[in-house]
Assembly symmetry: D3
């Protein structure tokens, strides 16, 4: 998310803890390479969080084995982060459900960050990113923690299942747009600061042939993009972050909301063609794709 | 086939001859890695049999250049194998048409094995695996040799062309299921021990877009799976062995025959997504695919 | 183009200038590897012309960054080439629009070659290969230079936009075949030596799913192939050269024109399945593909 | 150590815990590939222990960053291992100081194993393998734990610093052989079951140019090999295990002790020429090296 | 040089011009990855300067084929750089003889920078880096340009040949230290701002076995390090920059001059063990090497 | 040998048989890449001869596992080669002891070639290249076959063991030069056409540290080069062919014999620094190395 925003031309700073060893430093270097400001990273005790990826192909889904237990990020105590200082000069704070799921220290740090941001007038975006295997035995705390963050957020990336989980409700029935509209109605009724609820919808026939669209709800109504067919997927890891970065880019550029949503969905789609977990493409790439200016070799 | 059965949880032992040099030992190590028992391999004179593979792509078919002449397996004399001892404790013996095609020594050894297995009450499966280029000048002997093995087999993997070749008949006309049903009728009438005749059917539009299904005939009737569309094929080498291992797995687990056939066909399909000639996937992978539990990243 | 002709069994000689250093010699070696006669290459001052390729995937187009400024080929003065000697024994001279676009020296050398070829009774083929970024500030000279070459050519690879550019006309409207027929009519009326005008037509839904066909106009009329659907494209760079080499092969073999066009289009399609910029396939591969003898593994 | 013994022709079984996921299974497969019996491995909770290696070169030392916290091996409770059953049929039990250093559970399991082995008449070898960074805050417990294992061991791999640490003594002064002899004297006086104390000695001028020798003390006296110069080192990780496996091999083959020590030292030296942490070489390779039969290509 | 200083903990900013395309941006990303501030890079017309490297081995020297003609850096007009602004806040400006050799525009820009630095009280270091093939036909201008830069420099990296070339003198005779001392005497007599003249000395027996030392002259006298033997060289490209960065690091840390020279020479030596052209090692690595704390694996 | 001669600027043609399949054609392409004329290769029945190489390192020797049984070259009948036609225009015919060792057909073809060459006035060079594992059961025929070829050769590459084997004599005693001189005396007395007997001598301390020199005997006397120390060897396969090509190059250039021998030995030494089995270096590289013009990076 931070790398994609930096590539799109924004000042993006990553606040996290990495191990004070060679792999940790390499990780910071990789962020810098994409243009992310790493001056707010701290180097601390603990290991480097990893995951193992078996790429999917055809109708075989990709598999991720998380290996984050004991990571520097997971075990750094929440008091380590001096949020008022870290948020100085920021316009937005972005967090993920993974902050809440990884363990008590990261959840606590996320809540501290959220409250400090509201106090400082920094807007908040939150990507629900629900990962059951990361919550593990702490699953029962998920609704309470999610609710506390959502109550402070201006922009939430999540679908009807995320909203239902946070608010303790049943998931609505109906088609994707109807379910999302129902969830959005409840969310806007409950969450005082919420201005935007956004999600991608995915219709899948096999791991290599999927249709992707974007939905964006505001207090005024709901917008959708057309569905884009994705064949020959190269790597779908990071498409959610590409979407989030794309939407935030549009809002920061003050585009109208349909344009911002179309752009975010283009970013999510194009990320499927890029190996690795970062959307390496720039604004012009997404706009060219949206204007359908052809798929021939550019030379 | 042995590797896939080992991965599916069975004790699988490979009986063959490898050269007594570093490449031969590496080959045994690779089998062990997958869990195959290599204690019945012998290290003998001769070279390591190879093949060169040019992977196919789009509408260009893959090409295999066999390089098996003079291999330790091909030249080891049939008397080398002490079948009663080698088959001790076995429930099934599996052979391939390649045993018959490679040359007189391997064909003779295969027939010895088959007779020893029947004598010891070991069930026999046989994959016809017809390869014209391997038979070469020995093509005229194919029907007699095939017939001798088929006459002893409980389970045969082959289609109507294989049956027609073995029994000296014309291939029936009609659609794939009708042709297979006709061949199965003749096979069950002629082959005293045959309980199952199974095959995959492939409808191909290009090397990268194929439809695959499974057919299984018994003395009671014939079953078919639905056709599965295969796009974005990674590597189809070994899909026949994946099918055979999957069906044998179902029979050994005493599943009903439709379930065994569906499972075998799932294994054959999923193998197309796995690089290399071994289906690295486990039972849970095939069952998940059959239950269509989604193609999203698993994490 | 030269490599593909050599692979198809023709004597093909490359006339160009390469830098007199290790990369330049490696380049000549690569041509020789494919069977191209490199005795007419000269090693001269200047650098090796390069391009950077970002392969496309899915709906993201490939991107080429040219890096040809200052190359030995670009800066070698036209007087360096002794065309009467270089063309001795040749039946055809093939040139590309890139010769005209790269700069004054290569354009001048191309015109000298064309006039020398006509004087020596060597037939001329020309691939328009329009690349706007290579013409750069010299774009205004394109029509005049193109016209001078086209006026001498027997065989031209180009579409209605190329013809319109050369002759200073509007592009006709209508579907692909109609537009091409209109352009061909004007071309045959204007260009005294022109016997064949050929092009591929591409209908694209995304960078990974395209339909390709071939069109060939003569003074007698126009022929077309059916459209071939291309999914799972591996590398489309070089498909135009594969088409050109395929058509010239058919003409040199004195096949009837429909067969030559079908063959050329097969070559262009199959090139999309071959990594690198050379169509590594032989005549038998293209004929097998045309006769649709199946996409199964060949073994 | 287990892999090297298996390659040398022994039945070697690994008793450990691996995570029940794809990386854990791959790890077991790799052991099987080398011929190690993996039937005593258990698949348990926890992650896969890792280390990061920056290979050394010239005068820059290699660096290892351990990443073993939370590994399945580290956190499996000692009661998990049913030692009498696991040791059935074994002649030797081999352990490492890393078992003691990693944490309380593995240390407790190691002590249980040692006592069960003594009770069952299984001989015990122990490689001190001191790693300060792994002991961390538990360093104070090292002497007590080491002493408990050493008291039961028949064969110990360690130098004077290891013995001094375990027995709470000062390290003797003098040259390498004298220091080792002093330590051996104390060890034999204190440790009732000890028959052999062995170590390698390393004289280093740079990371790429070292001299290596072996020392072996028994109750009868002390033996040494000549020093072997090591230039052009490929990978020194695993040379200690190669030495241990080599010595145990010699003892199991009932060679005289000088021959066993020479062989072990040859194994340690040759491991420096093999990439990876396993000595892939067989008995014949070590013997050929000892008999100096030339370094020419063997063909 | 900039990357090494950043790794050593300094704020280092690169002032240059890169092409405004994907390779140019990748280049900037690589600099950022090492921690170099890229905000003073400009993206301009021209290509990316390259070189081709054939690594040396044994007694075969490495070969570099420069490919810098027409690069964005080479062709950007000197007026493009607003030196007073670019130098704001800087303590040192570092330039290389390559700036002078590449062509008139870069030479002019270098002189402008030097004068602006002196005017702003920014200290100047200059690495003579003589490359005859880059000067080409401009070789006659080398003495004048070098003299103009040297006249402004506080710190010069160069040997007696560089000084002789700049001052139009004969190279002194004698051993390496005597020749350097003679050159230093002349340099300090001629160059008003010069405080330090430093160089490495290399004694070579083959490309893979060299001895390296450092020499540093000041107005007070001359210092030398011991010679370090380099065997098993991995990559010597960048060792000069590693030396320069190491010396500047010592001066910025206000170490005594012998310590700074030892450190710089350690950096130059250790760079030979690091692939690529950047010395990836930190201060602790060089200090550990100098204190000879052993070449064993660190774990 | 042919590739090295082509790189040195000679017309070199390879006469052999390759399989008529993709690997065979790739092999011909690789020869062409180096500039070898492949028009005398024939594509025939049989497989492609291979070998497996385990590269040596440190004191572990490289190992070659030959896999040449059944190769097209080995089984092509001698009558296949029309020697008078194949030798037209040639000045030298070069053969290897491998031609004699591989089997009856290649030995017969080699003798036919030798006799045809003598009849046509083509000079003959022969590299004894003794490989015991290739002779296998045919070892008893080696002396007779060698003698028949040697009797016709102008230039022989071989040492005292080769000469003793061919002439049925004991190997002389003494140091390397004395043993070679004795063998040369006998050879010149026995072999009527012999003008030059040449060999490399190798003194080895480990696989990575060897000393290499050259010896050349003529009817007038014997010459030797100094011994060159080889450390950090990259790949020694092909150094014999590099030597042979270097000497033939010197003779063809009509250099004096010491210079030719020095050059040949330089080629053999430098080949150790080049990966692969072809000496990729040109005349200038060998001459520069002989003139010791430094091992610094060339740029």
């Amino acid at each position: 998310m931070a790398a994609s925003l930096a590539i799109l031309g924004h000042r993006a700073s990553m606040i996290s803890a990495l191990p004070a060893n060679a792999p940790g430093r390499a990780c910071a270097g990789e962020l810098r390479r994409h243009g992310v400001d790493t001056s707010s990273l701290s180097f601390a005790d603990g290991r480097l969080g990893l995951y193992y990826l078996t790429p999917g192909a055809m109708q075989r889904a990709a598999e991720v084995v998380y290996d984050r237990a004991g990571s520097a990020f997971a075990i750094t105590p929440p008091g380590h982060y001096d949020w008022p200082r870290l948020l100085q000069g920021a316009r937005w704070l972005h967090l993920s459900g993974i902050n809440l799921a990884l363990g008590e220290p990261t959840a606590r740090a996320a809540l501290d960050a959220v409250h400090a941001a509201r106090a400082a007038g920094v807007r908040i975006s939150f990507d629900c990113n629900h990962r059951a295997t990361l919550w593990g035995v702490r699953a029962a705390q998920a609704p309470r923690l999610l609710r506390e963050v959502l109550a402070a957020a201006d922009l939430v990336f999540g679908n009807e299942r995320d909203i239902a989980l946070a608010l303790g409700l049943e998931v609505a029935t109906g088609d994707a747009q109807a379910r999302f509209a129902a969830a959005a109605g409840l969310a806007f009724a409950t969450l005082p600061h919420l201005n935007w609820l956004a999600t991608t919808t995915r219709q899948t026939t096999d791991a290599d042939d999927q249709q992707l669209g974007g939905l964006l709800a505001t207090r005024e109504g709901q917008r959708a993009t057309r569905l884009h067919r994705l064949t020959g997927i190269v790597d779908r890891i990071g498409s959610g972050d590409a979407f989030a970065a794309g939407l935030l880019h549009g809002l920061l550029r003050e585009w109208d909301e349909q344009r911002a949503l179309d752009f975010a969905t283009a970013a999510a789609c194009l990320k499927h063609s890029v190996p690795g977990d970062v959307n390496m493409l720039g604004e012009a790439d997404m706009l060219a794709w949206l204007s359908q200016d052809g798929f021939d070799v550019r030379r």
